[in-house]
C-alpha cells in the first residue's frame, strides 16, 4: 500500500513539474501530494509542496490547515493544537479543522477528549456519517456498547438502506446480550441479508449465533415468542452452499 502511495506521490510531483494543463487543479495536486507525503512520513516532500502553496496563497486557510497537519506529522502537538485553535477562530464552521483536532486527540491517546470533541462536532454537523461511524468504533473499542448502539441507530435512521449499519448494529446488540437485544440483533442480521441479497457471510453467521443464544437465554422461560426455525435453516443452508463452492476445505468447520 505504502509503495503505491509513494509511487503516486512521485508521479504526481512529476506531473507538477511538467506543468499540468488546467491551472486550477495544479494547486489541488500540490495539496494532495503534501497530504500523501505526510501519510508516508516524507516530511521534506510535504514541506516543499506546502512552501509552493504558501507562496501562492499566503493567507489561505487551506495552507494553514496543511501547516497544522505538518506539525501533527512531526508530533509537535502543542504547536499543532495552537495552529488549529487559531484557524478555528477565523473559521468556526470548518469541518476539516474540527476533525483534525479530534484526530490529534486520538493520536495522543486522549480518547475521552476525542469522544467529547466528536460529540460536540456531531451536534453541529449531525449529517456527517463518517463521524458517526468513527464515534461508534471508538465506543466499541472502549466496550461502551450502548453508546455505540445509539450511533448506529442514528445512522440507520438517516440511511436505512445501507446494510453496513444494520450489520454493525446487530453485532453491537449481540455483544450487549440479553434476550431482547438478541432478538433485535437477529432482526437486523435479517435485514442485512435482505439488503445484500443474501450474500453477507457475517449476517448469515449472525443469524446462527443469535438463534442458539436466544435458545440459551429463553431456557426455562415461557416460549411466548415462537422462534421460526426457517430463518436459521435458511442461513445454514446458504452458508454451507457458499463454503462448498468457495472454501470447501473449511466446510467441516461449520459446526452449528
Amino acid at each position: 500500500m505504502e509503495e503505491e502511495v509513494l509511487g503516486s506521490i512521485f508521479a504526481l510531483s512529476g506531473s507538477l513539474k511538467l506543468g499540468v494543463q488546467r491551472k486550477s487543479s495544479k494547486w489541488t495536486l500540490y495539496e494532495q501530494v503534501a497530504i500523501a507525503a505526510m501519510d508516508c512520513q516524507c516530511l521534506d516532500v510535504a514541506k516543499d509542496c506546502i512552501k509552493v502553496l504558501q507562496k501562492k496563497f499566503p493567507e489561505g486557510k487551506r495552507v494553514g490547515r496543511l501547516n497544522g497537519m505538518l506539525l501533527e506529522a512531526k508530533g509537535l502537538w502543542a504547536e499543532a493544537e495552537k495552529a488549529s485553535s487559531s484557524l478555528l477562530e477565523d473559521n468556526p464552521l470548518d469541518q476539516v479543522i474540527h476533525k483534525r483536532r479530534i484526530a490529534m486527540a486520538k493520536a495522543q491517546g486522549n480518547i475521552s477528549e476525542a469522544i467529547e470533541l466528536l460529540n460536540k462536532y456531531l451536534e453541529i454537523f449531525m449529517a456527517d456519517h463518517e463521524a458517526w461511524r468513527e464515534l461508534a468504533e471508538i465506543y466499541v473499542s472502549l466496550q461502551m456498547y450502548k453508546q455505540a448502539a445509539f450511533c448506529y441507530e442514528e445512522l440507520i435512521l438517516s440511511q436505512p438502506t445501507v446494510p453496513l449499519y444494520h450489520l454493525a448494529y446487530a453485532d453491537v446488540l449481540y455483544t450487549l446480550g440479553g434476550l431482547e437485544n438478541l432478538q433485535t440483533a437477529k432482526k437486523y442480521y435479517a435485514s442485512t441479508i435482505d439488503l445484500t441479497g443474501g450474500k453477507n457471510t457475517r449476517a448469515l453467521f449472525g443469524i446462527c449465533l443469535c438463534t442458539s443464544a436466544i435458545a440459551q437465554a429463553s431456557k426455562g422461560r415461557n416460549k411466548e415468542d415462537k422462534e421460526s426455525p426457517e430463518l436459521q435453516s435458511l442461513a445454514v443452508t446458504a452458508l454451507e452452499k457458499d463454503y462448498k463452492q468457495r472454501a470447501a476445505d473449511k466446510l467441516g468447520l461449520l459446526v452449528h
Partner: protein, 204 residues
C-alpha cells in the same frame, strides 16, 4: 513448588502475528495462539501456530465467537488447543495491555489456565533491523493469583523464547520484502470466504 512456566513460540507462529500487525499499521490487531503443554516437560507451553484474527472492531463478539469455534474445531482434530492471545495496540507509543485484550485473555484463561497474553512491543519492532536481538518483539503477560494480567518481569525475556534462534533475521527479511501483504486474517475471511485464515501458502 511448580517451576515457573516457560513459553516457546514457533518461528512461523511468531512471524505470522508480527506481519499481521505490520499489514494493518493504523489499527489494533489481534490473534490467537495455538499449542499445548509440552508432553515431556509440564513447565513449558509450546505455541506451535497462530491465527491472525481481526483488524477492526476487535471488541465485537459475533466475529470472535465464530472465529474461536472454527479455530478450535480445526486445531482440535490435530491435538492442539488455544493457549493464548496476541494483541497489538493502535498507537505506536501505547504499551499498555488494554481492556479488550484482558477480557479476551480472561476468556481463554477459563479454558486453559496456563494461557499467555502477548503484546506487540512497537519500540522493539522498530529497532529490529538495527540490532542482533534474538528475543521476540513481544511482551509476555501472565495471570497472577489476584486474577490480573501481569507483565512477566525484566527477566521475563527468558520466559518467552522463540524456538528457532534466527527467527528475527527471517522476520527482518520478510519485512523488507513486504511479505505482510500476503497475511490473511479472519476479518478477511469473513469478507471473502475464499481467503484462507490458515495462511497455508504463506511460508511456502
Amino acid at each position: 513448588m511448580v517451576a515457573e512456566l516457560k513459553y516457546e513460540i514457533s518461528q512461523n507462529a511468531y512471524i505470522k502475528l508480527v506481519l499481521h500487525a505490520l499489514k494493518h499499521k493504523t489499527t489494533a490487531v489481534n490473534g490467537v495462539l495455538l499449542g499445548r503443554v509440552n508432553p515431556q516437560n509440564e513447565s513449558v507451553v509450546e505455541i506451535i501456530d497462530s491465527v491472525p484474527l481481526f483488524h477492526s472492531n476487535l471488541a465485537l463478539l459475533p466475529p470472535l465467537e465464530i472465529a474461536l469455534i472454527m479455530i478450535e474445531e480445526h486445531y482440535g482434530s490435530k491435538g492442539l488447543g488455544i493457549v493464548g492471545y496476541f494483541h497489538a495496540n493502535e498507537r505506536f507509543d501505547d504499551a499498555e495491555l488494554g481492556i479488550v485484550a484482558k477480557n479476551i485473555g480472561d476468556h481463554i484463561f477459563r479454558y486453559f489456565p496456563q494461557a499467555a497474553v502477548l503484546l506487540l512491543d512497537n519500540k522493539k519492532l522498530a529497532a529490529l533491523p538495527k540490532g542482533k536481538d534474538q528475543s521476540p518483539v513481544m511482551q509476555l503477560y501472565i495471570r497472577d493469583a489476584s486474577k490480573n494480567w501481569k507483565l512477566a518481569g525484566p527477566d521475563g525475556g527468558s520466559r518467552l523464547v522463540i524456538k528457532e534462534p534466527a527467527a528475527n533475521v527471517v522476520l527482518s527479511d520478510y519485512i523488507s520484502s513486504e511479505k505482510w501483504q500476503d497475511v490473511v486474517d479472519f476479518d478477511d475471511h469473513l469478507d471473502d470466504i475464499k481467503m484462507d485464515w490458515l495462511n497455508l501458502e504463506l511460508f511456502k
